[in-house]
Amino acid sequence: MIQIVIVDDEADTHLLYKLKMKKIFSSMGELNLVSFLNAPDCLQYLKDKASPATDLILTDINMPDMDGFELLQKVKQLNGKIPVYMVSAYESVEFRNKAENLGASRFISKPVDFNSLGELLRKDLNLEPS
């Protein structure tokens, strides 16, 4: 089973990912989607030993309190192996480079093309259509 963590301060995003991921993973196996409205809660979850292992993190960049870049750094300190996808409505070279330098796996622009996202996930998580 694959566990993906979503971090976005807009609740509607969670619904979107839930519905879209369900479609994508319908052909790729079981998915456990965990959503957080802010980065600190996510970190808390990752640090918790009781939490199941996370395979991938999808995070928004523009968030109050702690933004996506900070979360990325913290996650990389915690466990460098977890791939992190940065999602932003700011389509800029600076953001892309910053994300890359900080060790993000992918930089996804909004509006999200879920077909492409599905392809990327399949590649990065070595999923084969079942």
Partner: protein, 517 residues
């Protein structure tokens, strides 16, 4: 020391005499002093002489008393008239005796000369007998002082006339002597100096030379001439120096002017460059702010677009009615969000079709409130409190009605949001909303006051910056107050706020009551 140099005509000389005040002054002064001295000395001398002669005259009385009276008494006693006559004749020949009269027994025995009653030098001698002291007769004697006085008076007159004449002659010669020795030369010096000044020919280097006879030793005039020539030379030198300095100065001024001109030119060039750079900077700044605004707008639109696009895609595939319902709601919400952003941008850019029209501000305020409540009811379950209206009268004002309603709506929405926030924090809290309108002078004031969460003081005027929001994502793009501020400005008015963080906030929009555009 008579100079024979200046051969001048008699006429000139006379003219000189008349105008030559220095000589004339000397003449008058000499004459006056000399005359005064002569007068005093002569008067003194005459007085002394007169006094001596007068004393001599008075002495006659003593001579008569001592030398004549005794013998005269004897002769009277013996009545020897011959001897008496001889004696009296001798007496009458004494100098200064003017009148003699011998009387005895009331008879005039002898009388000579003429009596002058006005004469005060008069004496009567009583003649006594030597032994018996019997009065034998009397002798009247008058001294002739009058002729003495006359003599001295005449003498004085003559002396004065002589002296005056003598002085006049001396003074007359003195005048010419003085004239020749000094005045003529002073005149030459003056003419020399005047000519130099009149011709303006300071460079004329002929020295001053007085036409004088050879004389072995240098006198004051020579010193004066030498001094003047020395002074002239000095002035010439100073003039030369001044000219040199002047030329140098002119040169310097020219040099400086040239430098200044060069500097000015380079300054102008620099100024031009600065202006060009400024223009470039302004253009760049404009582009940059346009770029950052575009990025912000893109970001604000991409977020809801993300939902609209992806959810609508889901919608076409979904068969679940409840899912369809929920997804539709989210799509509608985010479509509205995009619409709001686009409208706001339109208002901010001024590209809306609103027209200036006279409207009742109170009606606009009420309409804005109603619209806000209606809009909110779609997204929020919070029931706003009943608004407390304090509306003024006669507020018909030229406004962009649609824009103003929108601006007021944004402010009211903010107020209600603050109330909602506080309600979530404090259960016992009673939300209040007051909207007032009033006419203050030529300004209409619209105030929206809430007792909500307030505005953190740190925000200040940033509260009006675009895309600044304290709301959760999706709840607001941070354009509401920016738009309201812009609309107030477009009316020629202002939007200001005051707040006590955690207690209340009041927004006051001031609009001109008469439009002067």
């Amino acid at each position: 020391m008579f100079d024979k140099c200046c051969v001048t005509s008699l006429k000139t000389k006379w003219k000189n005499f008349r105008t030559n005040s220095l000589s004339l002054k000397l003449l008058i002064a000499t004459w006056a002093v000399s005359s005064f001295a002569t007068l005093i000395l002569t008067a003194f001398q005459l007085f002394m002489d007169y006094q001596r002669d007068f004393d001599k005259l008075q002495n006659n009385f003593a001579i008569i008393k001592n030398s004549y009276l005794d013998s005269m008494a004897e002769h009277l006693w013996s009545y020897d008239t011959r001897l008496l006559e001889i004696q009296l004749d001798g007496l009458s020949r004494l100098q200064g005796v003017g009148y003699l009269k011998l009387s005895a027994d009331s008879k005039i025995i002898y009388e000579s000369g003429k009596s002058d009653p006005s004469e005060d030098s008069y004496k009567r001698f009583e003649i006594f007998h030597k032994n018996t002291n019997e009065v034998l007769g009397s002798l009247d004697v008058e001294l002739d002082v009058k002729s003495l006085r006359e003599k001295y008076f005449t003498e004085a007159i003559w002396i004065f006339i002589r002296q005056a004449g003598k002085t006049a002659i001396v003074v007359f010669f003195l005048y010419f002597i003085f004239n020749q020795i000094l005045v003529v030369h002073i005149r030459s010096i003056a003419q020399f100096l005047r000519l130099r000044a009149a011709q303006g020919d300071i460079r004329n280097n002929t020295p001053l030379i007085l036409k004088r006879r050879e004389h072995p030793r240098e006198d004051e005039l020579d010193i004066l001439v030498a001094s003047i020539n020395q002074f002239r030379t000095d002035i010439l030198e100073a003039y030369d120096k001044l000219e040199t300095l002047n030329q140098a100065l002119e040169h310097k001024v020219e040099e400086r002017t040239r430098q200044l001109t060069t500097k000015n030119e380079s300054l102008e060039k620099a100024m031009f460059q600065i202006k060009r750079m400024q223009a470039t900077l302004v253009a760049q700044e404009r582009l940059a702010s346009l770029g950052s605004l575009t990025a912000s707008v893109a970001h604000e639109i991409r977020n809801p677009l993300n939902f609209v696009l992806n959810f609508s895609e889901l919608l076409s595939d979904s068969d679940d009615p409840s899912e369809v319902h929920e997804v539709s709601r989210v799509i509608l919400k985010h479509s509205q969000r995009i619409d709001q952003i686009v409208r706001s941008m339109q208002i901010l850019s001024g590209h809306d079709s609103d027209q200036l029209e006279t409207a009742d501000v109170n009606e606009l305020v009420k309409k804005a409130y109603q619209q806000t409540i209606t809009n909110r009811s779609l997204a929020s379950s919070f029931l706003p409190p009943k608004v407390n209206y304090r509306l003024g009268d006669n507020l018909m004002v030229p406004v962009y009605a649609t824009s103003l309603a929108r601006a007021l709506g944004n402010v009211i929405e903010n107020a209600i949001y603050a109330l909602e926030k506080k309600t979530q924090l404090d259960k016992d809290y009673v939300p209040e909303l007051t909207i007032s309108t009033s006419l203050k002078g030529d300004t209409v004031e619209i105030s929206v006051r809430d007792n909500g969460v307030g505005v953190p003081g740190i925000l200040g005027e940033k509260i009006f910056d675009p895309f600044l929001t304290t709301k959760a994502p999706g709840e607001g793009a941070g354009l509401g107050l920016t738009v309201a501020f812009n609309i107030a400005q477009r009316h020629g008015g202002t939007l200001k706020y005051s707040s006590d963080f955690g207690a209340w906030t009041e927004f006051v929009m001031s609009l001109p009551a008469t439009q002067e555009r």
